[in-house]
């Protein structure tokens, strides 16, 4: 296309070689880097790590040997992740708007849906890293406390998968809230307040108790880390996830990919 202008454009490198679309792997890598290269992002992740360490330490120094099994320590160890990773997920999306870097990001990658998928991929990678860290820390804690009870190290693959799902969905619920609201402070506040409000309302009003059993995150997802789910429990978990994770992600994707960038 620029061949006609070739004589004038001599000083510029041949442009064809530069026309490669940035790969997903590269975009995901950049998104991971953007999570830690700001002051806020760095300290948030440092806090996640510190609180996880603290939780593991507290778990293994208090209570009896029975509660120092690896499974118990890990159950506690992933709780900070389920509370803090949603904030990481929210900021991953909203900081582009709050800090107005969307202007640069979307000028470099105009296909906004690719950016959103890269962000989701980055959030999954970070969750895996956080989970591995929690598992290693919990194993260390268990080894150090050496409870010496039966089944110290037993943890079924099913339960491990559920713990991973519990952590991952908390992160994606955050990403969904971020995409839905595109504004850091309201997204963080509402992601905490709305589930608590739903839980409170459905437990106070008797008529709504049945509904709560399907939409209250604490009731339907909280036990994922404790025991293997039955079919009925899975049904309730998936309904909750459809409402709190899938729906915000779908509406959020619409908002993310459309609209004016200021």
């Amino acid at each position: 296309m620029s061949t006609a202008a070739a004589p004038l454009q001599e000083p510029f490198a041949p442009s064809r070689s530069r026309d490669h679309r940035p790969s997903f792997a590269r975009l995901t890598q950049v998104e991971l880097r953007k999570m830690v290269d700001t002051r806020a992002g760095f300290w948030l992740l440092a806090a996640v790590l510190a609180i996880t360490v603290l939780t593991v330490v507290i778990t293994v120094v208090q209570g009896d040997a029975e509660s120092h099994r690896f499974a118990n320590v890990l159950q506690n160890g992933v709780q900070p992740l389920s509370i803090l990773l949603p904030i990481v997920g929210i900021l991953l999306v909203t900081s582009e708007w709050s800090q107005r870097t969307a202007l640069i990001t979307f000028a470099l990658v105009p296909q906004r849906s690719r950016m959103l998928i890269a962000k989701i991929a980055a959030s999954v990678v970070l969750t895996v890293i956080a989970l591995v860290a929690a598992i290693v820390l919990s194993a260390l804690g268990t080894a150090l406390s050496a409870p010496g009870v039966d089944g110290t190290w037993s943890l079924g693959a099913g339960l491990l998968g559920q713990i991973a799902l519990y952590t991952l969905t908390s992160m994606l619920i955050g990403v969904g809230f971020g995409a839905l609201l595109l504004n850091s402070a309201p997204a963080i506040v509402l992601s905490f307040v709305v589930p608590i409000a739903v839980s409170a309302v459905t437990s106070i009003i008797n008529a709504l108790d049945g509904v709560g059993g399907w939409i209250d995150q604490g009731r339907t997802l909280g036990d994922l880390v404790l025991h293997n789910y039955s079919g009925a429990e899975w049904a309730r978990a998936w309904v909750t996830l459809a409402i709190w994770m899938v729906l915000p992600l779908i509406v959020g994707a619409y908002r993310f990919t459309r609209g004016e960038i200021r």
Partner: protein, 318 residues
């Protein structure tokens, strides 16, 4: 005939029920600098956002390198953009902000220190968080960012904003050199003197419409004669009207007269007025033209910025 690098065909944008950009059409050829001039709120930024695929036009279309911007596979390596120097994460270090973009577009991150140096940000500034940057430093960082992918087109919105006079001259030289090597530059400004010296082509926008376009000379053709009396401007005005010449008072004193200098001189002689100055209006004419063309914007004020625009125009005419 060289292919145009940037083309806008009837771009139109409505925001909040108001048409902020109406039927904006222009082209930028390779090797040229185009100055996009107009008061604040005239529609420059909105037009540039549409060019860069950040805003959907309600009418018309635009092409960069012959295709819609969004169809460029890796736009960062072809088009350098500075739309808002404030659009950087305040908690990121200057060098890191550039590194992130370099990695995104697949440019060599090793270019970052070299570029920072080129725009006048030293090692210390590079290590600082963007939050701590002055407006001028942000503009320099933004220019480095625009140059990062070694592009052949630059689209810069108010790049001189916040730069000191020395920085402004440096930027003009940089853009001139870029265009002389075959690059294409579109830069906007609300201050005529910022772009007048560097632009090959001027686009003047007022109230969302292109009101004039062409080279400086084309715009000045027939712009009139600047005449100033040695001591009595009032008598000079009388002499002009006696000769049937249309004269508008100029802000610096004297008049802009719609006639050739020799006719103005004769009219002054006939009125017995001694002159301190007589000649083509040159830059004074361009200022007057800019003011006249864009003052329509003041009749239908843009809610965001008419007082600032008026103040800037004062600054120009001073």
């Amino acid at each position: 005939m060289l292919q145009d690098m940037i083309e806008s065909h009837g771009l139109t944008k409505r925001l909040g029920g108001r048409t902020v950009v109406t039927d904006v059409t222009f082209r930028c050829a390779p090797g040229t600098v185009t100055g996009f001039l107009g008061p604040n709120g005239a529609g420059k930024t909105t037009t540039m956002r549409m060019l860069c695929g950040l805003s959907d036009p309600d009418g018309g279309h635009s092409e960069v390198l012959g295709v819609n911007y969004r169809a460029l596979p890796n736009p960062g390596r072809r088009v350098g953009i500075l739309l808002d120097a404030g659009a950087q994460h305040g908690g990121r270090r200057g060098e890191e902000a550039l590194t992130v973009s370099a990695l995104t577009m697949g440019a060599d991150p090793k270019r970052v220190p070299e570029l920072l140096e080129r725009v006048g940000l030293d090692r210390r500034a590079a290590r600082q968080r963007v939050k701590q940057y002055s407006l001028g430093m942000r503009q320099r960082l933004g220019l480095a960012h625009a140059l990062l992918g070694d592009p052949e087109i630059l689209i810069l919105d108010e790049p001189a904003n916040g730069l000191d006079p020395e920085g402004m001259r440096w930027m003009r030289e940089l853009l001139r050199d870029f265009a002389d090597r075959g690059g294409t530059v579109l830069l906007s400004s609300h201050l005529l003197h910022e772009v007048e010296a560097v632009a090959d082509q001027l686009l003047i926008i007022g109230a969302g419409k292109i009101v004039a376009a062409g080279t400086r000379e084309e715009l000045l053709a027939g712009a009139g004669t600047l005449v100033r009396a040695a001591d009595d401007d009032a008598a000079l005005g009388t002499a002009m009207s006696a000769a049937g010449l249309a004269a508008r008072p100029h802000a610096d004193g004297g008049y802009i007269v719609d006639a050739e200098p020799e006719d103005v001189g004769r009219a002054a002689q006939a009125g017995g007025v001694a002159l301190a100055r007589l000649g083509p209006s040159e830059s004074a004419g361009l200022e007057q033209l800019f003011f006249d063309l864009t003052s329509g914007a003041a009749d239908t004020p843009a809610p965001d910025a008419p007082p600032a625009a008026a103040a800037d125009l004062q600054e120009i005419t001073r």
